[in-house]
Symmetry: C2
Subunit: 137 residues, 2 copies
DNA sequence: CTACACCCGGTACCATACTACGGAGTCAAG
DNA sequence: CTTGACTCCGTAGTATGGTACCGGGTGTAG
């Protein structure tokens, strides 16, 4: 089975070596087996895992939330009911983020449209107005 | 014209007084007029502005990016061309975030579906696998 | 068998985004 | 006209998420 050193994992995932070790300390990346010298031996999947972490982080999930997302899987240690409840909560959260982003996008599209056809009466701040409704917390 | 003290703005927007002043220092909230005593007099719109900042932050935008979003408007100081270019870049950014969130949501939905019909062969980490493709940076 | 890139753990430092504190002045209800 | 909540500014401290550096050991190509 193919394994990678920490440096290769880091390069493939587009992060620094220090970041990989940091994610390990945070419980986001499983502690890999070591060889006699103490060198970490990573399975190739670790690369995808780290790439996922980066993407989720860009979308505003905290490392704690990302850990929870990564723990969502069907295994014998947790009941199906429990997994479904937590996954459903995440789904709702994500749906709401998508809805808000869509409103922001629509507002910006109206702005560029107004711009294109000779600066209509768009003043004030359109993106801000787009979120006036739809408040919920 | 109705104005608000900093404390009222903060309460209505759901943040602390210190946060309002912090956003002012960061250029996210315009410096309001003061009365003779030095007290800030905010227009009511400031509340929406701060609520927008909070939402955008939850979606993973940095304060710097949020400032850029809030500056996108048609005014005489910038050319239409410039506004459109910057707005288009933000639109692309947002579209990509939406696409990634949709893939995450779909993965979680597959997980709960598998869960519901008596734990199928879903092992490993479905949300992670959902993003295996669609890499771009 | 040595050079050089790589890995080890530990600690210290950094940027971002707040949050708290202190000492003093202000406002309004009673 | 006092009292208590609110405001002022400045500075310092916190949490998160890394990033950098250290002295030392490891691995391998020439």
């Amino acid at each position: 089975m193919e394994t990678l050193t920490i440096g290769k994992v880091a390069r493939l995932a587009g992060v620094g070596v220090e970041t990989v070790r940091f994610y390990e300390r945070q419980g986001l990346v499983e502690e890999p087996p070591r060889r006699a010298s103490g060198y970490r031996q990573y399975p190739v999947e670790t690369v995808s895992r780290i790439r996922f972490i980066r993407r989720a982080k860009e979308l505003g999930f905290s490392l704690k939330e990302i850990r929870e997302l990564l723990e969502l899987r069907i295994d014998p240690k947790t009941t199906c009911e429990d997994i479904r409840r937590r996954a459903d909560a995440k789904i709702d959260d994500i749906a709401e983020r998508i809805a808000t982003l869509r409103r922001m996008k629509a507002a910006l599209e109206r702005l560029t449209a107004a711009c294109r056809r000779g600066r209509g009466p768009v003043s004030g701040c359109p993106i801000l107005e787009a979120l006036e409704d739809g408040e919920k917390s």
